[in-house]
């Protein structure tokens, strides 16, 4: 379901991959990584893929490859174990999920290692050396555009919940009555954040009466995150997601960086 009219092209490069999405779903559903209910996870995975395609996010081809892999595993799971074992030489490989599990477990270890690096980085961000300000590269932006502490999948989760809610009682008349543009929503969001400081994403979507408005608002939000005007933070695992202006948003560039 592509967006009919595109007034504003949002180009959010997604640096997370299919393995991130699977780990996110496994964590959210509190599943055992060694015994993934493949049917359920595949359905959810495809839901997310649909959402990302609808939003026209630049998703990598790897997402589609993974979708095919999941469906293949699903079909092989339907075979009785004896038959499966016959097709594979190694007994241990009999479970069609095993290869995927191995990749997920390995990747998860590095995700944990990355969290350790993040803790170190956080600690170091309060440490200054004398040449800090004159180091070459001080002006270099810090890596790819970041979603701060929240992954794209957390945001999509909130988006999905909002769509589900509206699905139940969408007033068709409203859809035709109101047209929003991403540009307008960007202004509106910024204005609201100026007044309130921060806004819960759930609350933000709550007031909306149409699918169209939710989609456009979500795109506006992604764009502002990409431009590093706002950041999304989450209170605890799967806690409430709030958006707020970044600390240095709107600060004039070129202001004295040191005395």
């Amino acid at each position: 379901m592509p967006l009919a009219e595109r007034d504003y092209q949002v180009r959010l490069e997604v640096f997370e991959g299919p393995l991130d999405l699977l780990l996110y779903l496994i964590r959210r559903e509190e599943l055992n990584i060694y015994d993934i209910p493949i049917e359920r996870i595949t359905a959810q995975y495809l839901d997310y893929l649909d959402m990302m395609q609808m939003l026209d996010l630049s998703i990598a081809g790897e997402f589609l490859v993974m979708a095919a892999t999941l469906m293949m595993i699903k079909s092989r799971m339907l075979l009785p174990p004896e038959k499966r074992a016959a097709t594979v030489e190694d007994e241990e490989e009999a479970d069609p999920r095993w290869d995927l599990v191995r990749r997920l477990v390995e990747y998860k270890k590095f995700k944990d290692a990355a969290r350790f690096l993040e803790q170190l980085e956080r600690r170091q961000s309060d440490v200054f050396t004398r040449h800090e300000v004159v180091e070459p590269g001080a002006e270099v932006p810090v890596g790819p555009p970041t979603l701060a502490d929240v992954s794209i999948f957390d945001l999509l989760g909130a988006f999905q919940a909002a769509l589900k809610r509206i699905g139940a009682h969408e007033d068709l008349r409203e859809i035709f009555a109101e047209r929003f543009t991403v540009g307008e929503k960007i202004d509106e969001l910024l204005e609201r954040l100026r007044e309130q400081g921060e806004v819960s994403v759930t609350r933000l979507f709550e007031r909306m009466r149409s699918r169209h408005e939710i989609v456009v608002t979500f795109l506006a939000m992604l764009e502002l995150i990409r431009l590093q005007q706002i950041e999304a933070v989450q209170r605890g695992t799967f806690g409430e997601i709030v958006i707020r202006p970044t600390a240095d948003a709107g600060v004039s560039v070129g202001a004295a960086s040191d005395e």
Binding site: F15, K109, L117, S125, E135, P145, S257
Partner: protein, 234 residues
């Protein structure tokens, strides 16, 4: 303090060199500085021609102790195989206000993951990183190269002779690590063949058994630092 021309103490020279240095300084380098200065300059510098590693190490410890006792917001840290004079993290919020840098510069989670893979698996090719992450890392590698957190260390013997990546000195400095071995679970994560033998063997990852360091960080300074920075207030 001493006038120019007076003979400074070993400790004072060590402190001054650490202060003026851009990168962390090793004991060996300091010994070398004393010897080179004695040779090239002579005069008062010749008095330190015989200085050895033990004396230099002791002087660093003295500077460290003196700074701690003085409580003037400075400290000596062991970083990237050397010693670095740096500001006390407790004073970070004010320094940041002064430098007008309210938001601490931080890497995105995908960048940190890529960096973790490189740190543990180095030297590693782009294809190996992508095999682990399951997604292209071109753009991220480019950014990390720009930030000088990683570098090309050579080329693999594999077909196409792909570049090999490794972490840099600046990586260690950025994360305040002394050596790459200080990363937790280095042995376990280093190579694929060594692990993932059986499902129950895989479970013993970092998440289940956090090294003391991780636990300490998570429980203590990280949370407090975050609070101190007003991370939630902004």
């Amino acid at each position: 303090m001493s006038e120019a021309g007076a003979i400074p103490e070993l400790k004072a020279i060590v402190g001054a060199v650490l202060f003026a240095s851009r990168a962390p300084v090793t004991v060996d380098r300091l010994v070398q500085v004393f010897h080179q200065a004695a040779e090239r300059i002579g005069g008062i510098a010749a008095g330190f021609a015989q200085v050895g590693r033990e004396e230099v190490a002791a002087a660093i410890e003295q500077v460290r102790a003196d700074l701690a006792a003085a409580g003037i917001g400075l400290r000596i840290a062991e970083v990237a195989h050397g010693y670095r004079l740096e500001s006390d993290p407790a004073c970070g919020p004010w320094v940041r206000v002064h430098l007008d840098r309210m938001r601490p510069q931080r890497l995105s989670p995908p960048a940190l993951e890529t960096l973790a893979i490189i740190a543990y698996r180095q030297p590693v090719t782009r294809a190996e990183i992508e095999a682990v992450r399951g997604v292209a890392v071109d753009q991220i590698l480019r950014n990390l190269l720009d930030l000088q957190l990683i570098r090309v260390t050579g080329r693999s013997d594999l077909p196409g002779r792909p570049w090999l990546f490794g972490t840099t000195q600046r990586f260690l400095e950025h994360f305040g690590l002394n050596r790459i071995e200080d990363l937790p679970g280095v042995d376990e994560l280093r190579r694929r063949e060594a692990q993932v033998a059986a499902p129950d063997g895989c479970g013993a990852g970092l998440a289940e058994k956090p090294p003391a360091e991780v636990a300490a960080l998570a429980a203590g300074s990280a949370a407090e630092t975050r609070e101190a920075m007003g991370h939630d207030a902004g």
